[in-house]
Symmetry: C2
């Protein structure tokens, strides 16, 4: 396959491929370095969600703290950096929940999900191109927002449903 586009966040490869089973097809694949997302859970069970403008949808989207894995970083290192940058916290306990594939039909991104607890203040260094509001939310209220279609982000829905299972 040939790289047909190179941007700051992803590149695109395109080509005619022959797949197992004999299928021959043109595929356009988005190449992405991978992401991490963190479900921060307070001692009282509230979860920390962020709200930010997403240009792709032209609206505010409620999500977990999350971001791209930088070159040379492990997913856990990226998770610790993103939690510090986006909400100004460190966490004593990190638990890997799942790794999910957001769009397997055309994109190679993976998102590794962590659950973080035991917070301590750390220096917040938001990206200059991000403006983020932080909201501590009871789990039940967050799940209501999912049911109402007001939380739609896939990684956030997965993490909240997993947290519900754990709480039951």
């Amino acid at each position: 396959m040939k790289t047909v586009y190179r941007g700051p966040v992803f590149s695109i490869e395109s080509g005619l491929v022959r797949e197992p089973g004999g299928v021959r097809a043109r595929r356009d694949i988005i190449r992405h370095s991978g992401s991490v997302a963190i479900l921060p859970v307070h001692e009282d069970g509230r979860v920390m969600l962020i709200r930010q403008y997403r240009c792709a949808y032209g609206k505010m989207v409620i999500e977990l703290p999350a971001g791209r894995i930088d070159k040379g970083e492990t997913p856990l290192q990226a998770g610790k950096r993103e939690l510090r940058e986006e909400v100004g916290l460190g966490a004593r306990k990190w638990e890997r929940l799942l790794r999910i594939l957001p769009s397997p039909g055309f994109c190679d991104e993976t998102v590794t999900l962590y659950r973080a607890t035991g917070f301590f203040p750390s220096v917040s260094e938001p990206d200059p191109d991000e403006r983020i509001e932080i909201r501590d939310t009871p789990l039940g209220a967050a799940l209501d927002l999912v049911a109402q279609g007001r939380i739609e982000d896939a990684k956030t829905v997965v993490a909240l449903l997993l947290e519900k299972q754990r709480a039951d």
Copy 2:
């Protein structure tokens, strides 16, 4: 924003944007027509999963029946067409579960999730560039595959966790 790439499945727009709150940033956005995914549930509670090769990851991925919304289709019409094309079934009952956003940071795709029950045979017309294996799977076994990291697809994980909530 300017279209900088146009492919069969998505296109890309790029540009310097000024967002609410005053952030100015270059954004690359993948424009996609939207997708649907269907959780087919048999009377005995087994769910129907499919297994197909995904070029983006170079491996077989277990997913729900799913696909793109064609021009002029509603999400429900697309769901009915995809269920027929991918597994050769019609369904009497369709329930909309959620709409999820797979990658809000750089892609405008939405995935509308349905739960389908009450099946009847229909004509299977797979796309010539798809080769699909169908597997009827008890819900508990499917959730075990999620916990083991063998089901990673985001829409599939969401639908299975919702089905577990309903079964509890």
